[in-house]
Amino acid sequence: MKMNLSPIYIADDDPDDLSIISDALIQKLPGNQIREFSNGQDLVNTLHTLSVIEYPALIIVDLNMPGKDGRATVSDIKNQPGLKFIPVIVCTTSTSLKDQISCYTAGANCYVSKPNSFGEFCQLISSIVDLWLPKIHMS
């Protein structure tokens, strides 16, 4: 049996994409708590108000967002000793090598492109969850 106690945080300025990612997550992890943010700054501000046991298990951020973009958000999280262990996935429409390199340099755990269909989105989210949330499997 699988129990996910920790929530998953998503930051994306596009409400459609927020709902697509949320829906794909719900399909994979029914009942798991999800928190949506429309920009990186709100997400980082929220993280700073949390106690350790409230930390999210996974963060998914868009790259191109007004204000604090995905790269800066990753950089903020990875520069905080208490937060840096949280896996951060950059999920973006950009396929440019420059963006990939800058995100990985900032400390992103993974860089993925947004797919063209909901089916592919579900597959992608499923793979991300399988890869980055194995530590909270309980038997």
Partner: protein, 447 residues
């Protein structure tokens, strides 16, 4: 008798001058031409007239000045030539005597600096006063240093020729010293370079504008790659969600319509990406001297599996070295080979042939040929389905396709990219097709 041998044009002058001397009983001094050995001699006649016992006495000396006269004529001629040359080249000559601080200026200098009438006294102070004030210390410094360091003089200056008119003048000079090592004179040239400066300025402006427009283009490409694709991705994603989440309720026709929405939006995304790849090709221009054969072999390796699977025969001449953009030539080969494979005959085994030759003159195929450069001609031919030759030009247009996409996929960008690549190399590509028999693509680039 005497006057008969004087040049016709000088006779009147002699009569008049002598008469004047007689009337006033004074000196006379005249030069005239005198007939001798079929030509004329130049004669100088000088003397005086005075009355003695009511007798008129004319005394004088005669001197043959032919040689001096000829030299003088030559000097006048060469001076004239020199003035013409100066006027043509617009380079003025000047010398500046340091001791008495005077300038000796050629006509062109007066023209350049628009100094009214040459007899006007013009010295160092006049010159300095007309300099743009901010220029004065700099130029005085340059002149001082040239004198003290025995350095050739070279500078450009801004000079106010009249109200509101400022010229840019380039000045070169050399300081001469006397035997006591005192600087005595500076001799040099000057040239009005205002027009050149203006052209240079315009060129710089154009270059800046071009850079600006290139930057806008890159920005445009970025917008196309991100923002234009966004709505399309949404269309396909939500149509897909609609199809899967309402699978039970939807009719077969509705599902088919949704599929068409999805495939069209995905296709448009592909087209935007293709369009971008063309703009990227235009921005990358790093030429290298490479072995073209290696590039071709790399491309064949890329198609290794399909070549083996489809039993494709490839015969190719050995390609020489050339100065090209390697990634682009690789892509050119890749697009052409991929085309030949894609449009191979369904019943005849595919045979692709590459031949190459060096040519001296590409003839009308290339508009602006580079003189003295040899050209490399590469022909890639196949025995595929070919095409009606009336479309030989059309197929190089972006998104032009000769077949329905249901039969042969692709957006129709491959050959458009090939043409851009050939043009980037100052070369060309053309096609020849015969329906049912095959196609030949000819590339000509400077070798």
């Amino acid at each position: 008798m005497f006057l008969d041998n004087v040049h016709e044009e000088d006779q009147q002058k002699i009569r008049q001058k002598i008469q004047e001397a007689i009337d006033s009983q004074s000196e006379y001094d005249l030069e005239f031409r005198y007939k001798s050995d079929g030509g004329y001699k130049a004669i100088w006649l000088k003397g005086n007239v005075h009355k003695n016992d009511k007798k008129l006495l004319i005394k004088g000396t005669v001197m043959d000045i032919t040689t001096r006269y000829q030299l003088l004529q030559q000097l006048k001629k060469s001076e004239q030539l020199y003035k013409q040359a100066e006027a043509l080249s617009h380079i003025g000559n000047w010398s500046w005597e340091l001791k008495n601080n005077t300038f000796l200026l050629s006509d062109e200098v007066y023209r350049i600096f628009e100094i009214p009438g040459s007899p006007v006294k013009f010295d160092r102070d006049d010159f300095i006063n007309n300099l743009i004030p901010s220029e004065r210390p700099r130029i005085e410094q340059i002149i001082r240093e040239a004198i003290s360091h025995r350095r050739p003089l070279e500078f450009t200056l801004k000079y106010k020729v009249s109200a509101g008119v400022i010229k840019t003048v380039k000045v070169l000079g050399e300081v001469a010293y006397d035997e006591y090592n005192h600087s005595i004179i500076i001799i040099g040239t000057c040239q009005d370079i205002s027009v050149q400066q203006e052209i240079e300025h315009k060129l710089r402006m154009n270059k800046a504008e071009l850079e600006q427009s290139n930057m806008s283009l890159r920005e445009y490409a970025y917008v196309a790659s991100h923002d234009l694709q966004e709505p399309l991705r949404k269309i396909s994603t939500f149509a897909d969600r609609l199809r899967t989440s309402h699978e039970a309720e939807l009719s077969e026709q509705a599902k088919s319509h949704l599929s068409k929405i999805i495939s069209s939006s995905i296709r448009m995304q592909q087209m935007i990406r293709d369009l971008l790849s063309v703009s990227i090709i235009n921005s990358e221009r790093s030429f290298e001297n490479v072995n073209m054969d290696n590039l071709f072999q790399e491309v064949l390796q890329h198609f290794e599996d399909i070549i083996e699977h489809k039993k494709i025969t490839i015969t190719a001449d050995r390609l020489p070295e050339a100065t090209v953009i390697p990634s682009q030539i690789r892509q050119l080969f890749q697009n052409l080979i991929s085309n030949s494979i894609k449009f191979s005959h369904p019943h005849i085994p595919c045979h692709i042939k590459l031949t190459t030759s060096l040519i001296e003159d590409p003839g009308d195929d290339i508009k602006n040929t580079i003189p003295g450069r040899n050209y490399l001609k590469i022909m890639i031919s196949d025995n595929g389905i070919g095409f009606n030759n009336q479309f030989a030009e059309k197929i190089f247009t972006i998104f032009q396709r000769l077949h329905r996409k249901q039969v042969y996929d692709g957006t129709g960008i491959g050959l458009a990219i090939c043409r851009r690549i050939a043009e980037n190399h100052n070369g060309m590509i053309k096609a020849f097709g015969e329906e049912g028999k095959g196609a030949v693509f000819t590339i000509i680039i400077p070798s």
